[in-house]
Symmetry: C2
DNA sequence: ATTGTATATGAGCATATGTTCATATACTTT
DNA sequence: AAAGTATATGAACATATGCTCATATACAAT
């Protein structure tokens, strides 16, 4: 059988999907996004709640920023982060609630 | 502010979610699952369609099997794989169709 | 100006991941 | 029994990942 006989995903679609899933595949990023689904948070606040170093959190926020999954506003020295991709947040919440109602 | 003031996910929930997303975060696994969403496939068939070695495909199927995302039946020398987790397939299709309709 | 505070970032490191290569296993065919 | 076919599996390797540590940056407060 030949490859053409099948509905094949375009490379771009596969790459984009894997990027989204990879973003959600790390426990720290899941926890950060879940926090942000509830309220706008500063970096230090996230670090305190998750009991992680500021640096580790900042690196993950940088990762999420690059993927446009979060955005921030500055207020003095404090950076307040919010989520910035409704679709990804919907996917995350679907999976989380599916797991919890088992 | 204290950690207890927030709705915190249980460690099990986070781990389980990250396992699901990690399973979907690799391009090869996405392609395999997408193929299986269309039809039952033998290992060699998957390898041919995806233009990958039998070994690479078999390793990924082993990964997906461990997570109970696929199952197989044997017919002589041939192993026919099908998907085995409707929820994960739904998530995958949601993300794929969201990407494609942009 | 100096010190303090909040965050970002680069280097380094240990671990995880995905593939290849060689080989094992189990069944089929002759 | 022997050779062939389809798949599984272990070792090895290169790359990716997520953290820590040290330091840079930018603004605030004194």
């Amino acid at each position: 059988m030949k490859q053409q006989d099948y509905s094949i995903l375009s490379p771009n679609t596969v790459d984009e999907a894997s990027r989204i899933f990879k973003a959600l595949s790390d426990p720290t990023r899941i926890k950060i996004l879940f926090l942000l689904s509830q309220e706008e948070c500063s970096v230090n606040h996230i670090a305190e709640v998750l009991e992680m170093t500021q640096s580790a959190v900042s690196h993950q926020l940088s990762f999420l920023r690059n993927l446009r999954l979060v955005k921030y506003r500055r207020e003095g020295n404090t950076f307040f982060y919010t989520y910035d991709d409704d679709h990804v947040m919907t996917i995350l919440n679907q999976v989380l609630s599916h797991i919890e109602c088992e």
